[in-house]
Symmetry: C2
Subunit: 124 residues, 2 copies
DNA sequence: TAAACATATGAACAAATATGCATATAAAAG
DNA sequence: CTTTTATATGCATATTTGTTCATATGTTTA
């Protein structure tokens, strides 16, 4: 049942499928990619990323800026740390966060340009 | 309690915060952006996107290619349709899906280049 | 027009996850 | 060395979401 094709007639299109299989990324890459996009798929984390894009901020700055609970911010910062998207340095009692590299910015701006074009299309 | 600052001393850094507020996208944009990244944050949807990147495929092709339930594929295609990332055309009983525009590809490749650099760094 | 086929949709369930409370850790100040 | 301050973490919970089953819709063919 699992191995039977769903369609009976001219579908599936075997030649198309075999070609796609050749050019598609492997399963592990796709899962890694999805995990990476998951990080960007939350507005709290996105706000944090946008905030520390230009200059480093401490946890407390982020709480104040985003109007969020300190716990919430710290949890999301841990997620960002674990995914290697941010770096941090301690200065006394405070810990300052900043972006790890500019891939983050690139992904973000690719997303933003899609969003903004969508907004344009809706105006028409 | 909500409106009190968490830190008492030299934090928060008001000048930094006010500058960040000026350059950060507004809340609605951030939510839209997060919603958009959510679409990419699932390996099934990513596989579908990669598969129809070069040429259109029907639902059944996708099921066969990805080894997934027809219902699962259709549900994810609906998500992709709703988010305007894919377009489709009917040909008899079959429905062929393809990418709506090349923003999708751009976002994907931005993500992939981050992933691949991460892999390089781990080899060192 | 009835049956077969390709795809879509609704409901239910399980798994993932974002948030907040309580508390732990770590640094500085008194 | 005790207290205060800044941040992190474990746990509980509510919400979201991906998958599947059952079934509906739309198209073709007999």
């Amino acid at each position: 049942m699992e191995n039977e094709y769903i369609c009976k007639e001219k579908c599936p299109h075997f030649n198309k499928i075999s070609e796609v299989k050749l050019t598609s990324p492997n399963d592990d890459s796709v899962i890694d990619l999805a995990d990476m996009f998951k990080i960007f798929a939350d507005s709290t984390r996105l706000k944090i990323i946008c905030a520390i894009m230009k200059e480093e901020l401490c946890v407390c700055d982020l709480c104040e800026l985003l109007g969020l609970n300190q716990t919430t911010v710290s949890h999301q910062l841990k997620t960002l740390r674990d995914s290697k998207l941010v770096k941090y340095r301690r200065d006394g009692k405070q810990i300052f966060y900043s972006l790890e590299d500019d891939h983050v910015t690139q992904i973000l701006s690719a997303g933003l340009s899609h969003i903004s074009e969508e907004a344009e299309n809706e105006q028409l």
